[in-house]
């Protein structure tokens, strides 16, 4: 019916949408293209080459970036796993725990790391480790990441659990499953799409973090973002564009997995 589409659509909105996507993708596209540039200068185009990719792995800065990558990925993996486990238990209490007075304060506490500006959280964490006399390094980064990853893991899990009817667990318990069995065998598998989304989001947020890491890392320990930042301060070099493009690839893979998982409905 033409009248229906007529009230829904506005002229110009499509153009703005295209503009929006161009703005979002143009910088990324340009850097991806230039990462394959054969030239050592970032301004001149000299043809396609994988030179800067091999430079990342074998060049003079390769040891630094390798260590930074190991730190980044191991921290992201551990922090996201721990944060997801904590988020699952918290979501079970909040969504399936009935009404209780600690419910809202718990929700507030869990979302606190998103409410507080990142730079403020960074300052607070630095001051905290300084006050208790804890030497800054790998461990301080890890602990800080676990804390601020919790809300990102929590929100998809809560959303998922709210969509699962509690009759599933009740049926299991009516059939003499213990509470723990009902949780492990019924609720947990049903929640899996939410858990995977939460884990991936937490993982990416940890991998992404620059500000908090920069404050709590101490001397000598670098993650990919802090190493890239240090390098970019002296100007953008082609090897940075190669690293950026590879990290871009990681993000695209993660978001694709998350997208596929979100379409997966296992409650039917």
């Amino acid at each position: 019916m033409s009248t229906v589409t007529d009230v829904r659509t506005y002229r110009g909105f499509f153009t703005v949408t295209v503009l929006c996507l161009v703005i979002l993708y143009a910088p990324l596209a340009v850097v991806t293209v230039y990462s394959f540039n054969a030239s050592a200068s970032i301004t001149v185009w000299e043809g396609l080459s994988l030179r800067w990719y091999s430079d990342v792995f074998t060049g003079p800065e390769s040891a630094k970036f390798k260590q930074a990558a190991i730190n980044s990925f191991s921290i992201a993996l551990i922090a996201a796993s721990v944060a997801t486990a904590i988020a699952v238990t918290a979501a079970t209490a909040i969504v399936r725990g009935g009404r209780f007075w600690l419910r809202l304060p718990s929700l507030g506490l869990i979302t606190l790391p998103i409410m507080v500006p990142e730079i403020v959280l960074a300052v607070a964490t630095l001051i905290f480790f300084n006050a208790i006399g804890f030497t800054r390094g790998y461990l301080t980064i890890l602990v800080a990441h676990i804390a601020f990853c919790i809300p990102f893991a929590y929100l998809p899990i809560q959303a998922r659990m709210q969509g699962i009817d509690d009759t599933y667990e009740q049926a299991a318990m009516d059939l003499y499953a213990s509470r723990a069995q009902a949780f492990r065998r019924v609720l947990l598998p049903l929640m899996m799409p939410g858990i995977i989304s939460g884990f991936l989001l937490a993982f990416i947020v940890s991998l992404d973090d620059f500000i908090i890491t920069n404050f709590v890392k101490g001397a000598g320990v670098e993650t990919l973002p802090t190493a890239i930042f240090g390098s970019v301060k002296q100007g953008i070099k082609p090897n940075i564009m190669a690293i950026s493009t590879m990290l871009l690839g990681v993000s695209v893979v993660m978001v694709t997995i998350s997208y596929v998982v979100s379409k997966w409905d296992n409650t039917k």
């Binding site: 659509t9 909105f13 850097v31 301004t43 238990t89 969504v95 506490l109 607070a124 602990v143 997208y259």
Partner: protein
């Protein structure tokens, strides 16, 4: 299918009520110790005395706040006159963040509306396209922006190639660059909540308005916009709050002259030159500002909810 949904007034699901205290313990422990306690500690530090090699001396002092708000002359013994340096930095940050929010809204609303009115299949793909940049490392996105905007960068090459300008435009290290950077960083945050709100909007209302001879733009302004206002407010907060405390965009794109709150705070903790209590005080002021914004919007949201 809303078994676990805590319907207001309804009975919340309580299958695991007996275990809830145990289940909550890990999150409370981690967040109290590593988020709440640090913020409290920061408040304490903002009232301590500065140690010259970084760190603090445990002696009560209001010096940090005094330095922020008061100009006491060259020797620090004159009566307090308002010190504008830091207030101006805050003011500029609020202005920049506000502008970035308005710009994001102008592009984000039509985008969100357009996506929400597609068929269900294509809608998912559009949302996917908007989500990807949000998952890409913020530092990498900011560096990409810096690369694009450079004096000899692709954007200037394009403009010169098209004959729009002869000399490269100086965009990098200006307010405009910071603006573009902030806007680019947080645009997906604007689109997604508005999209969610428009998707729930009942389009028979628009049809009713059209039947009653409302023009399309009047329908948009008086029917659609009020209905999706919660989504717009959420989007604006999600752009404004992180923009206000942003560090990467002003630092990498703005250069030394376009200082924002984030850089001011960061500088206080860098190496031995900093001033920890002052940095803590500036952070407290920023936190207070953000909490005020959240509080005002929360009461606003409640009022609109009550009206419908």
């Amino acid at each position: 299918m809303a078994g676990g949904a805590p319907a207001p007034g309804g009975v919340a699901s309580q299958t695991f009520a007996s275990a809830r205290n145990w289940l909550l313990m890990p999150s409370w422990a981690v967040l109290l110790v590593f988020v709440a306690a640090p913020v409290a500690m920061m408040l304490v530090y903002s009232f301590l005395t500065k140690e010259f090699r970084g760190g603090v001396i445990w002696e009560f002092s209001t010096g940090a706040y005094d330095q922020f708000f008061c100009n006491r002359g060259l020797f620090g013994d004159e009566p307090c006159q308002i010190e504008w340096t830091y207030i101006n930095i805050f003011w500029r940050s609020i202005w920049q963040a506000g502008l970035a929010t308005v710009l994001s809204l102008l592009i984000g609303f039509p985008t969100a509306y357009f996506i929400a009115t597609r068929s269900e299949k294509t809608r998912a793909l559009w949302v996917f396209a908007i989500t990807i940049p949000y998952w890409v490392n913020l530092l990498i996105r900011t560096v990409s922006m810096k690369f694009l905007l450079r004096d000899q960068g692709p954007l200037n090459d394009l403009l010169i190639g098209l004959g729009l300008t002869e000399d490269p435009l100086r965009i990098i290290n200006t307010n405009l660059a910071v603006q573009l950077g902030l806007y680019y960083s947080y645009l997906p945050f604007m689109v997604l909540p508005i999209y969610a709100a428009v998707e729930r909007y009942n389009f028979t209302l628009s049809e009713a308005a059209a039947d009653l001879y409302a023009t399309k733009w009047a329908t948009l302004r008086r029917i659609v916009l009020p209905a999706v206002k919660p989504g717009i407010v959420a989007g604006c907060i999600l752009v404004f709050v992180p923009s206000l405390g942003a560090f990467l965009a002003p630092d990498l794109l703005g250069g030394a002259r376009n200082f924002m709150i984030g850089s001011l705070i960061e500088e206080q903790f860098k190496g031995n030159a900093g001033n920890w209590p002052f940095g803590a005080a500036a952070s407290m002021i920023l936190l207070t500002l953000v909490l005020l914004v959240l509080l005002v919007s929360a009461t606003q949201q409640r009022r609109t909810k009550g009206a419908v």
